[in-house]
Structure formats: structure tokens, C-alpha cells
Symmetry: C2
Subunit: 175 residues, 2 copies
């Protein structure tokens, strides 16, 4: 007899799957995380495969992503050969860190293309009268990128970070 998952567990798994995909993360990673998050005991790869009806390959890949993000931990249970996992329950810190790292990474990927444009601006291949216009616009782009970088930098790494507390207080001023 197959154990029936409760409605609420199923709903949270759904929610997390949707949530992850909305924010450009693998929905299966979301489902797996939610399964662990809503499970009191440790969970194995095969549990995930069975409960979420996904392939073992996908479970393996996604659980290792989650592990690399610090969202789940591998446990030693008895001396069992199976890998057991549990969720890091600090969802706010996980979300904060993922967001920050995601933004950082995206900005980093754009840096070479921005630099290339800067180089081209220095070379004298611009039709004279447009040169000044181009330089001004390119400079605005650089300023935007810098502003984005700085905004990302001040994001705290943890929800328990003092910075976040301070920022929260500031937010309340605007409320």
C-alpha cells in the first residue's frame, strides 16, 4: 500500500516547483527541496524518485545543486550506504543567498561585453560627429552596471545578518 502524501505536503511541493521556475531555477529542485522541507526525517534519492515521480538522474543532479547552494545537507544514518538528505530550514537565508549569487553571476557574464564596447569607443572608427553622443550613452550604461553591482553587494548573505536587521528597520520608515 502506497503511503498517501497529505494535501498540504503536495501543495507545498507544487508551490515550490512553481516558485523555483518563476525565478529561473529548476522546478524539480524546488519540488525536491519542498519534499525535504516538509519531511521530519531524512529522505533518500529513491524516496524523491518515488514521491515526485521523477527520474533518478534528475534527482541526483538537482539534489547536488541544492547541496551546493547550502539548501540541503547530506546525513550519515547508521552506516547505511544510502545517501540521506535533510533540508536546511532557514529558507530566508537560502533565498537571499541564491538571489545575490544569481544577480552577481549575471552581471559578471555581461562584463566582457561591456568592456568590448568600451574598447570600441576608444578606437577611432566612429563617424566623427557621433563620437561624443556614443560616449555619453555608453557612460550611462556603465553607470547603470555600477549601480547594479553596488546594489547587489549590499545584500546580506544571511537572514540573520545584522545588515538585514538594519535594512528592515529602514524599510519600516518607508512603510
Amino acid at each position: 500500500m502506497k503511503k498517501q502524501r497529505s494535501d498540504i505536503k503536495r501543495d507545498v511541493i507544487n508551490l515550490a516547483g512553481m516558485g523555483f521556475s518563476r525565478f529561473s531555477l529548476s522546478p524539480i529542485a524546488g519540488q525536491i527541496y519542498a519534499l525535504l522541507y516538509m519531511s521530519e526525517g531524512p529522505v533518500t534519492l529513491n524516496d524523491m524518485v518515488r514521491e515526485l515521480k521523477i527520474s533518478k538522474g534528475s534527482a541526483s543532479m538537482n539534489i547536488r545543486s541544492l547541496e551546493s547552494w547550502g539548501a540541503v545537507r547530506k546525513l550519515w544514518v547508521n552506516s547505511d550506504r544510502k545517501d540521506y538528505y535533510e533540508a536546511n530550514p532557514d529558507i530566508k537565508t537560502i533565498a537571499l543567498k541564491r538571489f545575490k549569487e544569481g544577480m552577481s553571476k549575471r552581471l559578471d557574464e555581461l562584463a566582457p561585453a561591456l568592456e568590448k564596447a568600451g574598447d570600441s569607443a576608444l578606437k577611432g572608427d566612429v563617424p566623427g560627429k557621433d563620437a561624443q553622443f556614443y560616449r555619453v550613452r555608453l557612460n550611462e550604461i556603465k553607470k547603470l552596471m555600477d549601480a547594479l553591482r553596488k546594489a547587489v553587494e549590499i545584500i546580506p548573505d544571511s537572514a540573520s545578518d545584522k545588515k538585514l536587521e538594519i535594512i528592515s528597520n529602514i524599510i519600516s520608515v518607508f512603510k
Copy 2:
């Protein structure tokens, strides 16, 4: 004789295409915006098609997205029947607004799924001893969603907003 686009214009178009796609927006919208941003005069649909080598359909769809975001404006040139467009040059405000609206929309889309989980938690279908555990975890999820909502709410709508100025000053404290 086909007019040769300068390297810098080409590079910025590239950058914007990459940038948009990295942030889950249509790369062609990015290219179109960049083309207008780096053009002193107004630009027509056919200019876009020719310079970016894209289909007219795509140009039409994407320019209207950009228009709806306030990133470009339609112009009346003479009494020409053609649509002429120019870029709104305030890229910081555009980025800010797009980011805020994107986040809002994503969170809104998740609300029904979250509510559903809340409803399930109230129904007495949970295996008794797990009920408390589930409620605690679900509550943490609600708190995360609330925190995200509030964080998005305080994002200013414009780069010239006083709020942003204040926030910038605060940032400098953490620098």
C-alpha cells in the same frame, strides 16, 4: 551601399541582447532598445528589421513590449504614416521599474498556490502528529513571501525618486 554600423553601436546592441536574455527578457527587445538608444534620430520598424536582421513580426511584438514598459516612445514625424520610435534615455528608471514589476508579477502568480496550501493546512486531513510540524513550516513560507513582498514594495519607481537617493546614502554607510 549599405550603411555600416559602427563597432560601438554593434557592441552595445550585443550587450543589451545578452543582458535582456540573462534577466529573462526577450533578447530582441534588448537589441531593439539598444539600437534606438544608440541612434540620435527616430527609427522605424523597417530600420530595425534591416539593421538587426530580424522578422517584422518580431520587431512589431517587441517594440510594443518596450512601449508598454515606457522604454520607448512613438513619435509623430511630419505626417508620415510610418511609426517612428525613440528610446527613453533614462535607463536606470527603466531597469528599476522593470525589475520591480517583474518581481511583483512573479510573487502574485504564486499567491494562489500559497493560499491553497494554507487551506489544506486547515482541513483535518493531516496525520495528527505531523499537523503541528506542517503548520510551523508553512508559516515560515508565508513569512518569506511577506518579506519578499515588502522588499519589492519599497523599490522606488524611478531613479530620480527621493527614496532611491536616501537608499543610496544608506548604501554608502555599508560601503
